[in-house]
Amino acid sequence: MLQNGNEGMSTIPGFSQIQFEGFCRFINQGLTEEFHKFQKIEDRDQEIEFQLFVETYQLVEPLITERDAVYESLTYSSELYVPAVLIWKTGRNMQEQTVFIGNIPIMNSFGTSIVNGIYRIVINQIVQSPGIYYRSELEHNGVSVYTSTIISDWGGRSELEIDRKARIWARVSRKQKISILVLSSAMGSNIREILDNVCYPEIFLSFPNDKEKKKIGSKENAILEFYQQFACVGGDPVFSESLCKELQKKFFQQRCELGKIGRQNLNRRLNLDIPQNNTFLLPRDLLAAVDHLIGMKLGMGTLDDMSHLKNKRIRSVADLLQDQFGLALVRLENTVRGTICGAIRHKLIPTPQNLVTSTSLTTTYESFFGLHPLSQVLDRTNPLTQIVHGRKWSYLGPGGLTGRTASFRIRDIHPSHYGRICPIDTSEGINVGLMGSLAIHVKVGYWGSIESPFYGLSERSKEAQMVYLSPNRDEYYMVAAGNSLALNRDIQEQQVVPARYRQEFLTIAWEEIHLRSIFPFQYFSIGASLIPFIEHNDANRALMSSNMQRQAVPLSRSEKCIVGTGLEGQTALDSGVSVIAECKGKIIYTDTQKIFLSSNGDTLSIPLVMYQRSNKNTCMNQKTQVQRGKYIKKGQILAGGAATAGGELALGKNVLVAYMPWEGYNFEDAVLISERLVYKDIYTSFHIRKYEIQTHVTSQGPERITKEIPHLEARLLRNLDRNGIVMLGSWIETGDILVGKLTPQTASESSYAPEDRLLRAILGIQVSTSKETSLRLPIGGRGRVIDVRWIHRRGVSNSNPERIRVYISQKREIKVGDKVAGRHGNKGIISKILSRQDMPYLQDGTPVDMVFNPLGVPSRMNVGQIFECSLGLAGDLLKKHYRIGPFDERYEQEASRKLVFSELYEASKKTKNPWVFEPEYPGKSRIFDGRTGDLFEQPVLIGKSYILKLIHQVDDKIHGRSSGHYALVTQQPLRGRAKQGGQRVGEMEVWALEGFGVAHILQEMLTYKSDHIRARQEVLGAMIIGATVPNPESAPESFRLLVRELRSLSLELNHFLVSEKNFQMDRKEA
């Protein structure tokens, strides 16, 4: 899988390959590199020496299978063994043993790791390459200030700047800057050396005054001065070893460790030849950097573009895992050292395995996968989501940027992104431009550079050869954006192509081209390259589309798209949801659960996934595609997974759509659908939810799981078996009990609410010694119990909680309120389901399936949907499927339109349906109103579009609250659906109510729905005894606020009591 077997052919690299390569690099190189940093450990008296033979480490095949790991919530990891030796120097004897160091989570074939039963993926981080960068900034008075930024391997930055008076400063913290002379003296060079090594000594000499001269006189003084400035301490610190150490730790290690890449970059930028293994910043570097800075000031040299990709590198899984491994080894070293000392003190004779604990490595990795921001739970909504997740990059995370502070420039698209980072696919919202997807052909180079392939064109060899170029190299070539097919062959003068050269777009003769791009989709990510006619869409809508395709729910019966881009096949294949034959053979037996394959004499059993839950509650299911007795080839698809059809990605359905207004039911992007989509199960999906409960041990005793729950209706308990757990296969409705649980409780009368006590007294209920804490099905959940798992935690049985998980499957037809979307960013909510005779119908009587708003097209500029729609109709009639690459316009003017019209014309001719293509309004057709049979006023665009049902469904969102809990502090209703929360009525909503004078609602809102706590509690009492709700006596604070607001408008709101007898007014404060 990792090697591309046929070298000559350029195939799209496997979509998960970036992850695999990263992990392989970690296993093959990263482990060894970190092991070599592990030094031998000696105790204080140097009697015992501990050493690892790092060359012969072993990783053992995992003991459990992936499936078991998921099922039992374990980590899919392999054990790492290293031979270790313990040498007694005094006794001159040694003990050798292979020790178990710990578990390393292993990557599976999806490019993910399974940690505690959860699929996790480590996404690639893009960080600024360590090195030095020059830039100039305009100060407010119009003078440009030159600064150079040195970025360390850890992301720490220190800046050198030259000011107007030509003084050179090093900025050590946000506020403090110190003279460059102080810094270089503190780093160990004296004034003589400095002056010898710089090109402009006069500048160095000019600025220090006498006081400073004294400071740089000796290293100690310089360090003292540096420390004073850096730590911002006043007074007179005394030079000491600890002070030196602190500075070393806080400044030099964080800001000056360059790493190998940093050293390389620095050497290149400053023309130095410092050896590679010198990974720290040297005084020589500093002086060279200052020289360059002065050169900049004098107008020599070029500035750097920080956002150029050549100045960035990818920290992939390999680097992140390697860092963690290093960390774990340091921890291990410390524990080993501690244990040796302990052993010696207690006069014990340790063995190597006794010294080494596996916990440090195991816990380091568990906490890394669990807590690190770049390790994310694999999103498994559909196959596309899975595969795209592994190809994500992010600027965020440790050593990177944060969403709130990142500038606009860094989020923007850069010319160097061509073919490396998708210009379209990025998240919306606060992280826009900070997270995105890699382009499909990208390879990650050894130094973390993002490499893109090109065809090299040369006169000599006719054969174009493929080269991977890193971003710092392809700038110097002329790169044709298309290929020679796009040339107009007839006319000699027009043998020119658009090309890129040094971040510019030029039109260059074909002969002068050095490189050409290899594939039209080279510039895009997977998500974007699944959009047909993407070149006709606005980038914003394409972005939404590539994000929304990832939210598509797998449907119960999937269907290939009629109009696609040709990448569907590989996406489905690489996502790993389908079962692929690993070798050729004969199918012996098929079943819903497994396939038996006979190959070379032995029988392979291939298990299939049956109705499994993904972490987005969608249903994953594999379905056999081969018949028994058939012979199959290697690589053939044995079973298709969810949202695949015939080996291709199939996220939605081809439905007949019309773009027309219909009674206002498609106002603001709402969508009208036909009941056919409901009863034909076209947009029916399955959702499997997991409900979990744990049993704890309380101070009163352990919690019990039982069927015997007092004071509960038998109806609620009808589904429980005799253990108190819901029976498999039972139908569950909201409020039913899934697991009956009782928590022991001390029976104290006072712990009940007064009305509760009253009720108990009236109804004669005994005070029970336990409280009912059963697992109930929350609102919105209903369905069939398909699995119940009782997970016993291993280890000490009492202290660890037991868990019971209930899986409930739910069938969801499409309904009003669900979100649907096309592949062009055209999204909408279902507003109404019409019967099929009411829908508009075509001239052959076919009712339309969906009605979209035509106004959704012009302002959004996603014309691709129109092309897709018309071509889909042609394809449907001709029984053809189209796979269309992007940018076909370069071959011909209006190529897309010509294709669509010619296909429509052909379909019209072949099926003898003249309405399919009418020259007066091509693509449109006159259609009828289903209710009246009248012709609609204007011809309407109709066609077949590929429409997806998205995961945002009403069932998960709809929510109402009549009564419920209140937040403790604010005494406001809680927030959110999960907590039975209320809907916030904000200021403006209240104004609306006030404006319309809805007296009863306002009265409610201002009294017992508001901050009148006593009134609110009285309502509860009134509800229990069934009395009328009492009117509160006093006004609540919110009403008083309203009165005061009115007062500030010079309006007095008050009420008076007028006496009947003497008309005396009795004024009362409201």
């Binding site: 098929t590 498999l728 069939r784 076919t846």
Partner: protein
């Protein structure tokens, strides 16, 4: 007057099946022509027939399947290639033909290995399986599979109701829509002002009934819907009125009500809301509170009833009477109040 014209100018209406085709066992096509029609009539009939064909025709389908030793819909049975859910989906698609009322039982009882098709359904004599080759399941092992089915004739579609089933029976979505598609087109001919039209009706059915039968069925259902109009309107109203009389014994305004009804023919009293009668807001609120929304509601209450209402005073009754008289020309004052 118009009728005589029609009779005089045209021959009697005739229909004919001009094309009939059986594409497969589950796809029938038929094209019918109705002529001659006066201008505009074709449209009237065409749209009505199309809507009746699509919405009014009954079909038979399997509504429930019961099988022992099946855990749940999403489980599998060893030895069967399909999961239970897929079998249910296959059963949903099976096309049946019957004219039964009520629920009938059918069953499948086979022993594997066998490829189960609709042929294997043992159905009651009144139910006929249209396409016997429809696939249900594939048994690969020698096991017994017994499924009890319920068959029902219904109209439209009904998605699975969420009833409990402890007995291992699973409801199947009811989709009884035998007409797949229908279309009508109008061809007009003739000269000048004497234009005549021909109506073409195209019908695609799923095989459980032929297009001709579908057309017959649709016409009959359509006629059934129109039958009430054939009876005199008067009787109809009286019928409703009688109903009211039985429900609400003390009718104080009843006589006047009948008078009034005769005065204002055609406007049912239920269509006049008390909002229209310009009552004072106080009276209006009182009436609204006691669920009196229309004039009919008002008239069906006796004065005593009104007086029993909260905050209702004699002045209000007077006001009501005067307004009603003013606006609706009902003289109620001579009535003893």
């Amino acid at each position: 007057m118009v009728r005589e014209d029609v009779v005089g100018s045209t021959r009697t209406l005739q229909w004919k099946c001009v094309e009939s085709r059986v594409d497969s066992k589950r796809l029938y096509y038929g094209r019918f022509v109705l002529s001659p029609l006066m201008k505009g009539q074709a449209d009237t009939i065409g749209i009505a027939i199309r809507r009746a064909l699509l919405g009014e025709i009954e079909g038979t389908c399997i509504t429930r399947a019961t099988s022992e030793n099946v855990l749940h819909e999403y489980s599998t049975i060893a030895g069967i290639e399909e999961s239970v859910h897929e079998i249910l989906l296959n059963l949903k698609d099976i096309v049946l033909r019957s004219n039964l009322y009520g629920v009938r039982n059918a069953s499948i009882c086979v022993r594997g290995p066998k490829y189960i098709t609709a042929q294997d359904i043992i159905s009651p004599p009144s139910v006929e399986i249209v396409d016997t080759t429809q696939h249900i399941a594939n048994l690969t092992e020698p096991i017994n599979l017994c499924i009890e089915l319920q068959i029902k004739r219904d109209r439209g579609y009904r998605m699975k109701s969420t009833n409990d089933s402890h007995d291992g029976s699973y409801p199947i979505d009811i989709v009884s829509m035998p007409v797949r598609n229908a279309n009508h087109s109008i061809h007009s001919y003739g000269n000048g002002n004497e234009k005549q039209e021909i109506l073409f009706i195209e019908i695609w059915t799923n095989g459980s009934l032929t297009p001709k039968e579908a057309l017959y069925e649709a016409s009959r259902n359509l006629i059934d819907l129109l039958i009430p109009f054939l009876h005199a309107e008067e009787e109809d109203m009286n019928f409703k009125e009688n109903e009211n009389r039985w429900n609400l014994p003390p009718f104080s305004f009843q006589d006047k009500f009948t008078n009034f009804k005769k005065n204002k023919k055609g406007i049912p009293l239920t269509c006049i809301f008390i909002d229209q009668s310009e009552l004072s807001s106080r009276t209006y609120n009182c009436l609204k509170r006691s669920n009196i929304h229309t004039l009919l509601d008002l008239l069906s209450h006796s004065q005593e009833d009104l007086m029993k209402m909260e905050y209702f005073r004699t002045e209000d009754v007077k006001q009501i009477l005067s307004t009603v008289q003013k606006h609706f020309a009902i003289n109620l004052l001579n009535k003893k109040l």
